[in-house]
């Protein structure tokens, strides 16, 4: 399960994941019945995520990427098709899946540490076993001094970092993130990308990350899956060859910008050139 670590040669592109598919989506489709007729939110999507791979779902608003993520999370039933995580088909929310939403959704009356340990409480596990892990996670995102603070004493970026730690507390197989930085300003977004990368390097979970930011998806991922609107399918997959760990400075390189341009072109094509 452990991959090529940072102290190996960084000239070669390390293979993302160990090749074993952890998430497999087959023919996944979602149709909502509305008073004005059936609306297809997601039209036949197939993809797979290997163990330890970081995948972005990139697309414009309304292309169904969040709906797709909710189906992977088990919070939304598929109309057609199936999703399998770690060998077990997804039919409802599961403990081996950690989810980070667009809003931090922290419980206002609990401290930062209590919030991170909340899944442990719900899942009736022993708090003592996870206390140290909670400490460690929060320290690695720079919140070591804030364990006893309440959410209202934290900024938006800090709260979202708490939410990410919370999603990782019970060591899930898979981390799902639904535009977790969309509610933050651009400067904070960059810092959060770096924070997420640092944390992710340590845990190397399979991750599915929904975003509408091209640069964000290229910086963070091993592969970017591009979704369009009509139909809402994954119509392009781009492998991102940068070795890890990735500094923010790779965003200045020509290769980075070439990839971003290509993705932008693909998205424009899908939108019919309307931009």
């Amino acid at each position: 399960m452990q991959l090529a670590r940072r102290n190996e040669a960084t000239q070669t592109v390390p293979l993302a994941g160990d090749g074993r598919p952890l998430i497999t989506a087959t023919g996944v489709q979602k149709i909502f019945e509305t008073p004005t007729g059936a609306v297809e939110a997601v039209g036949s999507v197939d993809f797979s995520v290997s163990a330890g791979e970081f995948i972005s779902l990139l697309g414009p608003s309304g292309c169904g990427k969040s709906t797709l993520l909710m189906m992977v999370a088990g919070l939304e039933p598929t109309t057609r098709g199936s999703i399998v995580i770690d060998g077990i088909p997804v039919s409802r929310p599961r403990r081996d899946v950690g989810i980070v939403y667009q809003e931090p959704v922290l419980l206002p009356w609990k401290t930062v540490l209590q919030n991170v340990l909340f899944p442990i409480r719900i899942q009736k596990l022993s708090k003592a076993d996870y206390l140290e892990k909670g400490h460690k996670l929060l320290c690695s995102v720079g919140l070591g001094e804030f364990l006893d603070k309440k959410p209202h004493e934290l900024s938006g970026g800090m709260r979202q970092r708490v939410a990410i730690c919370r999603a990782l507390i019970n060591d899930p197989a898979v981390l799902l993130m639904d535009e977790p930085f969309s509610a933050l300003d651009t400067i904070t977004r960059e810092q959060m990308s770096l924070s997420l990368m640092t944390l992710w390097e340590e845990v190397r979970k399979s991750a599915l990350f929904v975003t509408h930011s091209i640069r964000e998806s290229v910086y963070l991922s091993d592969r970017v899956l591009v979704m369009g609107k009509h139909p809402s399918t994954v119509f392009w997959a781009e492998r991102i060859p940068f070795p890890r760990p990735r500094a923010l400075s790779i965003e200045e390189t020509p290769e980075f910008n070439a990839i971003c341009s290509r993705l932008r072109l693909k998205i424009d094509e899908a939108l019919g050139g309307s931009g």
Binding site: L75, R94, E103, F118, K150
Partner: protein, 285 residues
Amino acid sequence: MRALPELAFTASAHASALESKASVARALTTLRGHAILIVLPIVTAAAALIFWEVMARGLNISPVILPAPSQVYQKIMSVLPLLVSNSIQTGKEALLGLVLAAGVGIAIGSGLAYSKYFRAAVYPNLVFFQLIPKVALAPLFIIWLGIGIESRLTFTIFITFFPIAISTAVGLASVDPIYVRFSRGLTATDWQIFKHIRVPFALPAIFGGLKIGVTMAFIGVIVGEFITSQSGLGYLILFAMARTETAVVLGSIAFLCIIGIAVYAAVALLEVVTRRIWGAPYDEG
């Protein structure tokens, strides 16, 4: 679970309540603020009392119609033990009625919020019976349950539980859905969502209902004492009225205010303690 539209706490109502609360907090930090918020009402009340005293004496109003404040005070002092013991009697019954009504109200409110069948079956009937002037129903309780504390208590519970039930139902139903979805994502059971998410978020609404319940409980006890009792402030008021001791009537009413405030303060204190442990800190940004 849909929010009950009839009594929904709107975001703007809540926001303006927070705003006035914040401005009160700000005012209490300055000396001038203190002066305005504390001294001014006291001065106004004192002025009203002085006006009353002057009018009562000056116009030579009979003490049977409207005794002067000084006369009322004299009378209160002379029957103080009587007033205190009856106040405690009434206060105890009101508190007991409130506690039992809270149990019934929260249970029914939870049922209304959770089961659409329960709500469809019960809610319209509940509203119907609550719209009947409840004081008119009091004699019915006496026929059924006699003239002891049972009928008074039952009647009190009957009129007190309704605002608590409605506030509880509204509070539980109007929790932000993102919290519910989040806890479902953690594989929480319905009970866990109720206990860890809905109840804490519903606490302000529930306590709002409990505070209204305080007034209802006292109405219930006083009405009950008017009709059936041999003790308590309600009884004392009627007894004094029969003997045209208007000063005692006014004194009883004054003591009724005092114990009413005491019970209300107890509820408010309970709210502070509960929300410190369990509820959201709504005052902070």
